[in-house]
Symmetry: C2
Subunit: 400 residues, 2 copies
C-alpha cells in the first residue's frame, strides 16, 4: 500500500541543497532582436560612447553662445541663416551632429524666422539642447547584468552599440507524463493528461524556452527509468508528472532512486505538493512532480523555480504584488509552506482577500475562480488571523 510521507524536508532546505548543486544550464547565442524574454548569461557593457559626437536634442538653430549674449525681447540679435556659426545660425534637426564652432542650440519655437534671418530674443548658455558625447551610454556602462531578463530597452541599448548577438540561458528540458490511466487531451478513452501541459507551458512562460515533450509513459518503473536514462543524455532537466503520490504508484521516485542519484529528496513540507521528488545526478536535475495540476504548480512555483533562480542567478522581473486584508484565519501547519489560492476584491479597507475553500490538489479551477496566490509560511509563520495584512501575488486584476 506504499508508505505515508512522514519525513518532510522543509522547502528552504530543499532549495539550499539543490541550488548549490545545479550547474549553469545550456547556453545559446541568439540574435539580440530574438532574445526578448530570455535571461542573459553574463554581464554586457557598452563598447562605444552614445552619442559618439555632440548632437542636437531638438529642432532649431545651432549658434555660438557668445554671439547672442546681448539678445533680449526688446533688442533681439539677428543672425543670418548660414553654414557657419562664426557669425551666422545653422539649422539643425533633432539628432543632427553639432557643427564645428557652434556650442548651443536654440529651439525653433524660441526664434522668429524672416527670410534668410533668424531673430533671437534671449541669450542661451553653452550646451543648451545638446546631447554630450556618451550622455546616453559611456564606454563601460552596464547594459545587461548577469541573469538579466531581457526587455525591449535592453535590445535598443545593445543594438545602439552594434552588439547584435547575446548569450542567453536556454536549459534543455524533457517532460513526460506518467500514468496508465492517461490519454492526451485530443484523444478519448481515459483520463486526460493536463498536468504535463501545465508544466510545459509554465516553463515556456517563465524561461522563454520550448521543453521537449516525451509523451505518456505507463505506470511501470522500468519504462520510467528508461525515459530518465534516455533524456539524461541530452537534457539539463528531466521531469515527470504523476507517479510521485504517497500511494502505491511511487514509480517515478523509485526510478530516480534506481539511478543512484548523488542527492535525493522525496517529500517536501509543502501543501499542495508534498510528494515532490528531486534527484541530482552527473550535473543533471531529475524532477518527479505531482500528477495533480495545482500540486504540480505549487511544486514548480515554490521549489523548482526558486532552485533555478538561485542556481542560475536569474533576475526575474518583479511580480505584481498587492497588500490585502485577510477576511478569515489562514492556518499554517508547523514548518509547512502552503500555496493558497485567493479571491482579491476592493473593500472599505482597500483590498481584501478571501482564501478559497478547497479540497484536493486537482482543483485547477481555483486558479481561474481566484485571482491571486499567497505562499504562506515561508518565514516560519504559524498562521494568519482574520484582518492581518498579507502580500499576495496577483494573477489577474482585483475585483472592483
Amino acid at each position: 500500500m506504499g508508505r505515508p510521507l512522514k519525513e518532510l524536508t522543509p522547502v528552504s532546505t530543499v532549495i539550499d541543497r539543490f541550488s548549490r548543486l545545479l550547474p549553469t544550464p545550456s547556453i545559446v547565442s541568439k540574435k539580440v532582436m530574438e532574445s526578448i524574454g530570455n535571461y542573459s548569461v553574463e554581464e554586457v557593457r557598452a563598447i562605444e560612447d552614445v552619442p559618439p559626437v555632440p548632437k542636437a536634442v531638438l529642432d532649431g538653430f545651432a549658434v555660438s553662445s557668445e554671439n547672442i549674449i546681448d539678445a533680449s525681447e526688446t533688442s533681439p540679435v539677428v543672425l543670418e541663416i548660414s553654414e557657419s556659426c562664426e557669425t551666422g545660425a545653422i539649422p539643425v534637426s533633432t539628432g543632427s551632429p553639432i557643427p564645428k564652432g557652434c556650442d548651443t542650440v536654440i529651439p525653433i519655437e524660441g526664434v522668429k524666422v524672416e527670410g534668410n534671418k533668424v531673430m533671437i530674443f534671449r541669450p542661451y548658455p553653452p550646451g543648451n539642447a545638446i546631447a554630450r558625447v556618451g550622455e546616453d551610454l559611456s564606454k563601460g556602462d552596464i547594459i545587461l547584468r548577469k541573469g538579466e531578463f531581457i526587455r525591449p530597452w535592453h535590445i535598443a541599448a545593445l543594438l545602439s552599440q552594434g552588439i547584435t548577438k547575446v548569450r542567453v540561458i536556454q536549459p534543455k528540458i524533457a517532460i513526460a507524463a506518467t500514468g496508465s490511466e492517461l490519454v492526451e487531451p485530443w484523444e478519448s478513452g481515459g483520463v486526460r493528461n493536463t498536468t504535463a501541459w501545465l508544466v510545459y507551458t509554465f516553463l515556456k512562460e517563465k524561461l522563454g524556452v520550448e521543453p521537449n515533450y516525451f509523451g505518456i509513459i505507463p505506470d511501470d518503473k522500468e519504462r520510467i527509468r528508461e525515459y530518465y536514462e534516455k533524456a539524461l543524455k541530452n537534457h539539463d532537466i528531466i521531469i515527470t508528472t504523476g507517479g510521485s503520490s504517497v500511494g502505491k504508484k511511487d514509480y517515478s521516485v523509485e526510478a530516480i532512486l534506481s539511478l543512484e542519484p548523488e542527492e535525493f529528496v522525496h517529500g517536501v513540507a509543502l501543501t499542495p505538493g508534498r510528494p515532490l521528488g528531486l534527484g541530482f545526478k552527473e550535473g543533471k536535475f531529475l524532477i518527479s512532480l505531482s500528477g495533480y495540476p495545482v500540486a504540480a504548480l505549487s511544486e514548480l512555483e515554490a521549489v523548482v523555480w526558486e532552485i533555478f533562480k538561485r542556481a542560475w542567478g536569474l533576475r526575474e522581473p518583479p511580480k505584481p504584488r498587492l497588500k490585502v486584508k485577510l477576511t478569515r484565519r489562514l492556518p499554517v501547519q508547523p514548518n509547512m509552506v502552503h500555496l493558497y489560492r485567493m479571491k482579491v476584491f476592493r473593500c472599505s479597507e482597500g483590498y481584501c482577500a478571501e482564501p478559497l475553500r478547497l479540497t484536493g490538489s486537482g482543483v485547477i479551477s481555483s486558479l481561474i475562480k481566484g485571482n491571486a496566490i499567497f505562499i504562506a509560511g515561508l518565514r516560519g509563520e504559524t498562521g494568519y488571523d482574520e484582518g492581518d495584512e498579507i502580500e499576495v501575488i496577483l494573477l489577474s486584476e482585483p475585483i472592483d
Copy 2:
C-alpha cells in the same frame, strides 16, 4: 523649416477617438498548448463536468460511512480489505473513482493495516476526501473570459475539457524605420536603427506576435507612402518610426495625410512623445512613432497600447506596481502626460523614488539606469511635491 506642434491633443482624447474606431484585428485558431501569452478572442466555457465521476482526493480506503459509525481509539472497527464496501474496505489511490456502495474515503495515515485487515479508529462523515462530480469545473463554468491573457492554468483547464484549440487575437503588424541616415545595427556607416527594433520587441512581448519588419526607408514622402499603401493590404496595424519630428522631416505624417485617412491626429500632449501621428483608414491603423527610442516607448505605452487594450478588450495581466515617496518635485505641464523614468530604492519610509534628470528622448540608458517608470498627469494632476506618495510601475526589483 516645419512648424512647431502648437495644437497638442490630450492623451485621453486620442485614446477615446481611436479605440472607438479600431475593429477586431486578425484572429487565429491555435493549439491550446501553443497559446500561452496570447489573448483569447472570446469567452470559453466548460462543456463537461470535471471530475465526471466522484473521485478519491487522497490515498486510502473507500468504505461505507455507516459501517464505521462506532469506531473509536479504544474500540476500532476492523474491516476486511475487499472489493466491496458492503462489509469491507476498498483500497483507493488519489484520483481513483469511488466504487459503488462506498461513500467516504479514509486516508492511509488514519488506519492501521494488518495483513488483510484495516483498523479504523474514528468515524468519517459521508463525502470525506471525495471530489464531487463537477467540483473542479461544472458544465457552463467560465474558463476564459473575452480578452483573457492565457496562462498555464487556463491551458490545463481547457485541456481537462478536451478543448484543444483556442481562438486568439493575432494582429498583423507591419513596422518600418524611416531615416536616410539610418543603417541596421549589424551594418556600418550610419546611425544605427534601434527604435524600430524597440517597437518590434515591445509588441512581441506584449502581444505574443511577431511583427512583419519592412526595413529602412529613406526620408522620402513618396517612398514612405508606398510602404503604407503596400502594407495596408494585408496588415491591421502599420507603423513607422522616425519622420514624425516637429522639424523638417514630417514625411511619415505627411504620407499618412496623403492617404486621406478618416481620422487623423498629429501632436499629442505627451512628453516625451509629442510628435506622435495616428491615422485610421479602411479599418486599418496607421502609426507614425518618434525615431527616438524613449519617445517611441512613451507613445507606445501611454497611447498606442491603451488604444489596443480598450478597442480589443484585452485583460492585460496586472503590472508590478509599488507605492513610493518622491524625493523631489515632479513638474507636470498643464494637460500634459509625462513619462518619467525613476530610480526606486529602499528608504526609511519604505520605498523612495528619484526621478532621473534627463535631456532628450533618445536616452535609452535611462530605462536601464532606472528601475521604474511613472506616468504623470494621467488624471489632470498639475505636479507632485517632494514627499508625495505615487505609484510607479517597476521594471526591475527596487534597490535594497
